[in-house]
Symmetry: C2
Subunit: 326 residues, 2 copies
């Protein structure tokens, strides 16, 4: 962290999603000073996308006093390789099919350093810069959304691994062999297949089909139940909905026991839609962890909910990558 | 690494085992210049143990030109906490029941810095200093012995975690629920319960009992079969012995897939008795890894056997901790 608060008080954050690209100019306390956005997929090629981004950015850069006030830019993007600054074979970006050197393209246009990583890593750096991980040197952020992602910090450094692709904790195997659910990665039994939004919806259908116990969720078409519906029903005390969270929390808590054996973090920090259920999901996670973790780690790790403001969390996370550039 | 080759060309390594304490004076290339040993458990209290160690050490220190030639000391010991320099509640050491500040005791007597960690971490630092991991920044050493241990290096640094106890990969859960074998840690289904020396012996008994297929191992009392016997039989082409190694290798290879998801190392380095079987065990590990690993990691990690000389590997590993002191 080298915020240089007087000379260059700001960084640019870009949350590059499949639909929208949201830009923010952020100070060292995590206050967003200006923001803008463009549609990610309105451009056939990456040059047009970058040009449109620069046009939009120029307005907010001027608002904060010009590019000389800005230290760096951080980008959170799918399939982003931190080491190369490239987006690699992103299936959901029309202009991201090959290897796209996006960090260099922005850096050349803006004349400032630009770094890029995936959204879960950006969230981890964001928690360290502005969130609940301030002052922590060893923690793991687990993002629960469409998929399950992770950002791992050890000795105060994000873990990128030998190839820039480390921190794929959504794809540790939780159920081995043929019983394992099919995962989007093409394998079976991954944590993501159980604890992503679609994983939770699938658990809901499985648990509902196994009994006739009454539940608010029975009023819905089983194929349309979302993890948000489960949260709402659980909040109303629905037994089946709480069973779904218990199953999900057990999977996450037991996975955290294996992660503790790896890096013994001082905290696990949960981020994403599912976490909005609060204690309804966090308590089952903690209970499963306490019941299963190795004795030497018992009672040590904290279980926290992200400290980044929901709506702007991804932009804040991305911007924090900018502070982290050496 | 700061070997200071001219001023202080040596470090002391202590491999502190339950039976013997072996000391070596080692140069920056990993050549052992002098060695001595005492019995670990011949002393009722730690003061007597340290005094006896210093008496033995003084002779070999004089042989290499005196204490001014020695930069530091590294100790590999059971239940050692790197952060505190203490042995904590070591069940197998008569004088190690409480919290014993062994690093400080040696440092006070010798007047040089002393660091201490467990044997698997020492092995990892040893591989980086003198072995097959020279020049690597991201790798994992897995020790296969009485237990299964690990030393994890990320960004060129040993991973000690928030409490000094990280790197317990022998205790990730490989078989969940009631089918899991009981592990020495009091839980079930741990990697160690399958891939330690006793785990392999247990696999041997299980596989032998499931068929009448002929095997060299049937000539032995099933309760007395060791992993060395399995190695010897497998080397002679025994089908059952090779099945035992396939089962063990599958467990290790699949565990490495989860470890890759965590830190994407450039190499997995195997150390210990079981590895003496060479390709007979390494090939099943690699085959299971290739079959199971996430696509983005396929073909990236190397699978290596320790480069440290067997008889002196533990002393070399311990000594390397000395070079690593900042």
């Amino acid at each position: 962290m080298n915020a240089q608060p007087i000379m260059k008080p700001y960084v640019i954050g870009l949350d590059l999603g499949g639909t929208n690209s949201v830009f923010g100019i952020v100070d060292s306390r995590g206050d967003i000073k200006a923001t803008t956005a463009i549609k990610t997929q309105s451009y056939d090629n990456v040059e047009d996308y970058v040009n449109a981004s620069i046009d939009a950015l120029q307005i907010i850069i001027d608002q904060v006093g010009g590019i000389e006030k800005i230290k760096a830019m951080g980008i959170g993007a799918p399939n982003a390789n931190y080491y190369t600054g490239c987006i690699e074979h992103a299936p959901n970006l029309v202009w991201g099919k090959g290897v796209v050197p996006l960090a260099k393209m922005f850096s050349d246009k803006l004349g400032i350093p630009v770094a890029m990583t995936n959204d879960a890593n950006a969230a981890a750096i964001g928690e360290m810069a502005y969130g609940v991980a301030r002052g922590m040197k060893n923690f793991i952020v687990i993002t629960l959304g469409t998929g399950v992602g992770s950002g791992i910090v050890i000795n105060g450094q994000l873990v990128y691994g030998s190839d820039g692709m480390a921190g794929e904790l959504g794809h540790v195997t939780m159920v081995r062999g043929e019983e394992g659910r099919i995962c989007g990665c093409g394998r079976t039994g991954c944590l993501e297949a159980y604890c992503s939004a679609t994983g939770v919806a699938r658990t809901a259908r499985e648990i509902l089909s196994k009994s006739d116990e009454p539940s608010l969720l029975r009023e819905m078409n089983p194929e349309e139940i979302t993890s948000l519906d489960v949260s709402i029903a659980a909040g109303k005390g629905d037994k089946i909905a709480n069973d779904i969270f218990k199953f999900t929390g057990k999977m996450l808590g037991e996975a955290c026991c294996d992660f503790a054996a790896f890096s013994s973090p001082e905290a696990f920090i949960f981020f994403g839609g599912l976490v909005k259920a609060g204690d309804l999901i966090m308590n089952p996670i903690k209970e499963a962890y306490d019941a299963h973790v190795q004795k030497i780690f018992k009672g040590k790790a904290q279980f926290l909910v992200s400290g980044l403001d929901g709506a702007s969390a991804a932009v804040l996370g991305a911007s924090a990558i900018g502070w982290d550039i050496q």
